[in-house]
C-alpha cells in the first residue's frame, strides 16, 4: 500500500504542529495510540518523527526497536515498514523514557558545578526521590520533551505520558515543580541546615518534626534541599519554560480513552481541564471500540433465534455440515454463539452511549477497534494509525 494522497484533517493539523502529547486514564492505550500516530505520521508525511514512549508493552517495544533501557532514540528501519506493506515518506525514531536516567541528566545540566552534581546524585534522599518524587515522573517526561524540542532535531515529536493516578497530574506537574522549589517553606526548611540546627529548637515545626523523625534525618533532608537549592533559579525558570511549551501553538494534545464508565469519565474531566488551561486538544480517541455489527438489530434477531431455536436449527444444520451424530454438541455451540452475541451487544450498546455522551463535550476525532489479539507489530500499529487518520464515521453508533 502506498500512502494516500488525499490529506485528511489530521494531516493538516499535524502539518502545523511540532508536538503531540498523548494523555488519558491508565491502561486505555495511550502508549499504543501514541506509537500508532507516530508510525502513521511518518508514513504519510515527509517528516522526521520521534515517539517517546513510557513503559511500552513488550511486543510494542520490540516493534519499535526500543527493547533496551536508556534514553537514546533509535530509528525504526525502513525495511520494517516495507515488510508491513508500506512505503514511508518520512522517517520514524523511537525512544523510551528512563525516569532515573533523565533525572540524573537533568541534575548534571542544572547543577552549578560538577562537585555539586555528584553530591546530589549520591545523596540517599535524592536517590529515593528521583524514583518516586510526587509528580517527579510526570515532570521529567515533560522536561525531556522540552530538551528534545530545544534541540530541534525532529519535525514532529509524539510524547506518551506515564500512568498517573490522575490523568490530570502531569498537566500541573511543571507548575507544581516551580511552586515546590519557589516556596517559602523550602527556604525555611533549608535555612536552619545552613546554620547547623542551632536555631532549630526555637522553631515549632522542628520541635515536632524532630521528635517524630529525629535530628539526623532532618539534617539529611535539609542538606538535600540545600544542594538542590543551588539549582533553584535554573530549575524554576526551566519548569516555567516547560509549562509554556505545553501551551505553545505548536503543541497539541491527544486524549485517549476506552468506552467504559470510569475511564470515559476521567477522560471527560481531562478534556475539560485542557480547555480550562487553554491547552489545545487536537485528537480525542475512543480506543478498543467493539465492531458496529454488534449494534445491528438484524443480527440481534439472529442471536435470539439461535438461543430460542437451537435444537431444531442444529438438527437441520447437522445434515448440511455432515455432522450426523453430533446434534447435541452443535445445539450447544449455536446457543453459545447466540448468548455471546447478546452479551457483547450489551457492552457495545453501553460503549455507544458513552461515545455519544463524550461527543457532546468534544468531537471524537477517531474510533479505534478492539483488535482481537495483543497489539504486537508494526502492522497493528499501522492499522490503528489508519483509523486515527480517517474520520470516525459513526462506526460504533447504534443502527
Amino acid at each position: 500500500m502506498s500512502p494516500r494522497t488525499t490529506s485528511t484533517s489530521l494531516d493538516r493539523l499535524l502539518a502545523s504542529r511540532e508536538i503531540v502529547v498523548a494523555g488519558g486514564p491508565g491502561g486505555v492505550g495511550k502508549t499504543t495510540t501514541a506509537a500508532a500516530l507516530a508510525v502513521m505520521a511518518s508514513v504519510r508525511a515527509n517528516a522526521k518523527v520521534l515517539v517517546i514512549t513510557v513503559d511500552p508493552a513488550r511486543r510494542l517495544a520490540d516493534a519499535l526497536g526500543v527493547g533496551g533501557i536508556g534514553n537514546a532514540a533509535t530509528r525504526v528501519p525502513r525495511e520494517a515498514f516495507v515488510a508491513a506493506g508500506v512505503q514511508p515518506r518520512g522517517s520514524l525514531f523511537a525512544a523510551m523514557l528512563d525516569t532515573k536516567q533523565s533525572w540524573d541528566a537533568f541534575v548534571r545540566r542544572q547543577a552549578p558545578d560538577k562537585a555539586t552534581a555528584e553530591r546530589i546524585l549520591s545523596n540517599p534522599i535524592y536517590q529515593n526521590i528521583s524514583g518516586r518524587f510526587a509528580q517527579g515522573h510526570e515532570y521529567i517526561a515533560m522536561e525531556r520533551l522540552y530538551e528534545i524540542h530545544a534541540e530541534g532535531e525532529y519535525d514532529l515529536v509524539v510524547v506518551d505520558t506515564p500512568p498517573t493516578r490522575e490523568a490530570l497530574d502531569f498537566l500541573d506537574a511543571p507548575r507544581r515543580m516551580a511552586e515546590f522549589f519557589a516556596s517559602r517553606l523550602l527556604r525555611w526548611l533549608v535555612a536552619p541546615a545552613r546554620s547547623r540546627l542551632v536555631s532549630l529548637a526555637s522553631r515549632p515545626f522542628y520541635q515536632v518534626a524532630d521528635r517524630i523523625l529525629g535530628t539526623q534525618f532532618l539534617e539529611d533532608v535539609g542538606e538535600f534541599f540545600l544542594l538542590f537549592q543551588s539549582m533553584y533559579e535554573g530549575f524554576v525558570a526551566r519548569a516555567r519554560a516547560v509549562g509554556a511549551l505545553l501551551r505553545d501553538e505548536g503543541t497539541t494534545f491527544m486524549v485517549v480513552t476506552t468506552l467504559e464508565a470510569v475511564p470515559a469519565h476521567e477522560a471527560a474531566r481531562f478534556v475539560a481541564a485542557l480547555a480550562e488551561r487553554r491547552l489545545h486538544l487536537g485528537l480525542l480517541v475512543a480506543n478498543k471500540v467493539l465492531p458496529a455489527s454488534l449494534s445491528d438489530p438484524e443480527a440481534a434477531v439472529v442471536a435470539d433465534a439461535l438461543q430460542a431455536r437451537a435444537a431444531e436449527t442444529a438438527a437441520r444444520l447437522a445434515e448440511a455440515l455432515g455432522l450426523g451424530g453430533d446434534v447435541a454438541r452443535l445445539t450447544r455451540v449455536l446457543e453459545e454463539i447466540g448468548r455471546s452475541f447478546s452479551n457483547f451487544e450489551l457492552v457495545a450498546s453501553r460503549q455507544a452511549e458513552l461515545l455519544a455522551e463524550m461527543a457532546k463535550a468534544h468531537e471524537v476525532t477517531a474510533t479505534v477497534p478492539h483488535l482481537p489479539g495483543e497489539v504486537s507489530g508494526l502492522g497493528d500499529l499501522l492499522e490503528i494509525g489508519r483509523r486515527l487518520f480517517s474520520a470516525p464515521g459513526g462506526r460504533s453508533s447504534r443502527g
Partner: protein, 318 residues
C-alpha cells in the same frame, strides 16, 4: 495456611483500573457475614463509598452495613491522631501550619507519608476495633512504597519516635498469618506484567506475603475443544450461508455478523487466557488464584459488588 479472609489485614492492589476497588469492597462484603470488617480507601476518590450507599466516607470509620465499615485515608488526620496518641502534642488546634510543613517534608522525604498511611491501618488492626481491615490500596507501584515504608524508615531515620514505632508495625505486616496482599489483574498483558513484577518485589522489598491473586473480568470460555472444532467449521467459508438456511427466513449478513462476534470473543478470551497462564506460573502454586467473570450486565455500584462477592465466595469455597 490461614484462609484468605481469616487474616487481619489485606492490601488489595493491581494496575490502575483492573478492579481493585470492586474486589476490595466485594471481599469486605463477603467477610462481613462473620467478621467485623473495615474497608479503607487509601487514595480517596470516593469509589469505596460509592460502592455501598454513596454517602461520603471520612477518616472516621462509618458503618454501611452490618459488620461492614468504610473509611478514607487522610494522612494529615493520621498525623494529627498520631501526634495526639503518641506524642501528646498539645497543639491540635494550631496544627495547620505544622501539618503543612510536615506535608511538605513528607512529599519530599521518602516514606513519611507512607508510614502515616500504613501506621493508621496497623493501628486499627492492633486496637482490634475490627477483625479484618481490607485496604483498597494505591496502584501496584505505590503499594510497594507503602509496605516498604517501615523498613525504609528504619534505614533512613536512625532515632526518633517514628523509628521506635516501626517495630510493632513490622510485626503485624510481616506475619503471613495476619497480613497479606491480594493482587488483582485483568487477563491482559500489561496488568499481568505488573502483577508478576509486584509479586516478586513484595517478598524482596517489603517482607509482606502474597495472599492471593484475583483474575478479574475474565471472559467465559465459549466452547470445549470438540465444540470449538464445530465452531471453526461454521466460521469457515459458506458456514454463515448454511446456518442462515438452517435458521430459515433470514439473510446471510446478520448471521455472519453473529458468527464474527463469537470469533472475536473466542480470540480475546484466548489471548487473555495465555496471560493468566503466565501469571499463574509466575507465583507459588499454593497462592490462591481466584477468577471473577466479566459482568456483562448493566449493574454497577452495590449490585456489581454483590455479584463479584458471590463469585469470589464460590471461588473460596465459602
Amino acid at each position: 495456611m490461614a484462609g484468605l479472609l481469616d487474616r487481619r489485614l489485606l492490601f488489595v492492589t493491581g494496575k490502575g483500573g483492573v478492579g481493585k476497588t470492586t474486589v476490595a469492597t466485594a471481599l469486605g462484603l463477603l467477610a462481613s457475614s462473620r467478621r467485623r470488617v473495615l474497608v479503607c480507601e487509601v487514595e480517596p476518590k470516593g469509589d469505596v463509598a460509592a460502592a455501598f450507599d454513596g454517602e461520603p466516607a471520612g477518616f472516621v470509620p462509618r458503618e454501611v452495613a452490618r459488620g461492614l465499615s468504610v473509611m478514607e485515608m487522610d494522612t494529615e488526620a493520621s498525623l494529627r491522631e498520631y501526634l495526639r496518641l503518641y506524642l501528646r502534642v498539645p497543639m491540635v488546634g494550631r496544627i495547620g501550619p505544622v501539618a503543612r510543613a510536615f506535608d511538605f517534608v513528607a512529599s519530599a522525604a521518602p516514606g513519611v507519608r507512607e508510614i502515616l498511611t500504613v501506621g493508621k491501618l496497623c493501628y486499627e488492626v492492633r486496637e482490634g476495633h475490627f477483625d479484618l481491615v481490607i485496604v483498597d490500596s494505591a496502584a501496584s507501584g505505590h503499594v510497594v512504597g507503602q509496605l516498604a515504608a517501615p523498613v525504609g524508615i528504619n534505614d533512613l531515620v536512625k532515632v526518633g519516635a517514628v523509628r521506635s514505632q516501626t517495630r510493632w508495625m513490622l510485626d503485624i505486616l510481616q506475619d503471613p498469618a495476619q497480613t497479606g496482599v491480594v493482587v488483582v489483574s485483568t487477563p491482559e498483558e500489561m496488568p499481568v506484567n505488573e502483577a508478576i513484577d509486584l509479586a516478586s518485589r513484595l517478598g524482596r522489598e517489603t517482607g509482606v506475603s502474597l495472599a492471593g491473586l484475583v483474575a478479574n473480568r475474565v471472559l467465559p470460555e465459549l466452547f470445549s475443544r470438540g465444540e470449538q472444532e464445530i465452531f471453526d467449521e461454521l466460521s469457515a467459508e459458506a458456514g454463515a450461508e448454511r446456518l442462515a438456511d438452517a435458521l430459515g427466513d433470514c439473510s446471510v449478513r446478520p448471521v455472519a455478523e453473529v458468527l464474527e462476534a463469537a470469533a472475536l470473543a473466542v480470540r480475546i478470551r484466548r489471548s487473555g487466557a495465555e496471560h493468566l497462564e503466565r501469571l499463574r506460573s509466575a507465583v507459588e502454586p499454593e497462592v490462591p488464584f481466584l477468577f471473577v467473570p466479566y459482568l456483562f450486565g448493566r449493574s454497577h455500584g452495590a449490585r456489581a459488588v454483590r455479584q463479584v462477592a458471590d463469585a469470589l465466595g464460590e471461588e473460596l469455597g465459602a
